[in-house]
Symmetry: C2
Subunit: 213 residues, 2 copies
């Protein structure tokens, strides 16, 4: 996940057209992924009732990136409950996992709040990172959605989000290093990816996540 970071965002997500808000009518009957006949992924309208993983604010993996003035967003991440339960047991994601990233504008002055940031009802974008092994080479694919949440085409596999997740994500191409309740589970189940362990070894040579227990 973490497509929402600016340098990936600009390459992956701003390609998604913004349309007039209009709730998607084609909600799937369960949390299993649903596709249109032409291979678009239907957005899961009930994702706000899924399991919450974390929230970041204005995260960026590029040391040279600049946030546009006045632009500050929260990124909320949710996962379907079936996948969450499997992760707690196994330390990794089952087939049909869907992670939803919701990008929400922040505000500081409103009601009685004087400082810090809170979330507004202005959603800037939504993205899905889905594992569907029969459908996608490598198992995973990204999809970006406009405000209408209409079914979306897959973001092409050449986009940099794929290679970044492949190289740096802690578990099975997902950024579990930023999901605080899941990282220790992955550590205990020995499911941390080689690329992540290599990054950690460079960043902090004594890091306990590299040691076998």
């Amino acid at each position: 996940m973490r497509l929402g970071l600016l340098f990936l965002f600009s390459l992956c997500v701003l390609l998604v057209p913004r349309a007039v808000p209009n709730m998607a009518a084609a909600e799937p009957p369960s949390n299993a992924p649903a596709y249109t006949a032409d291979g678009k992924l239907v957005f899961p309208a009930n994702y706000r009732q899924w399991i919450y993983l974390t929230t970041g604010m204005d995260m960026n993996y590029n040391p040279n990136a600049q946030m546009p003035p006045g632009h500050s967003m929260f990124d909320n991440v949710f996962v379907n409950p079936e996948a969450y339960k499997a992760f707690v047991k196994t330390g990794t994601w089952p087939d049909k996992t869907m992670l939803v990233l919701e990008q929400r504008m922040s505000a500081s002055k409103g009601s009685i709040n004087k400082s810090g940031k809170y979330q507004t009802n202005e959603v800037m974008g939504r993205e899905i990172h889905i594992k569907d092994e029969a459908r996608f080479p490598g198992g995973w694919a990204f999809f970006g959605y406009g405000a209408d949440m209409k079914p979306a085409q897959q973001i092409p596999a050449q986009a940099p989000c794929y290679s970044c997740h492949q190289e740096h994500a802690a578990v099975d191409t997902t950024f579990v290093q930023f999901y605080p309740t899941l990282l220790d589970i992955a550590k205990a189940k020995h499911t941390l990816a080689a690329g992540y362990l290599k990054d950690e070894a460079v960043a902090s040579p004594g890091n306990t996540y590299q040691k076998t227990e």
Copy 2:
């Protein structure tokens, strides 16, 4: 909710002793509140699987408050699913509603992240705002928990969190004005509190939330 704001935090929550981490063993069998014989509220250990409402960062209602240097926290808010479903239908909270505020330390540099903030596994505190009409005068009460999440005594009703929520919260003493997916429901159901509408009228005289539809 929003006890976590510094000026209330210092008065309500820092009174709670910090203890050695040790998961509470007495998880209630359902999402209904459970109390010990001496009236302490048992912490709902499965709250991270409840419905997520929002996240704030370093919010403060006091214009003169200063955040301690290097101290930056996310506040994540969850509610039990039964109460969420009732709110969606009615625009207000049923009896036995429990809102959980989780205060989590932020970090900026870690893994491949270079700027912005992400959540760490360091939880600074947890608080509950509960509606239990047969038990609490006024219907609602606050409880603060240390790292051990042991059953807690009610925060005394004279604490300023009660009067602040009573005077300024958007719906039934809860800060729905900061829960982006719920505020429009309350507006549509005409459940916004008089104190909140008065605050909004002073802050922005043309605010649509004051108008009947």
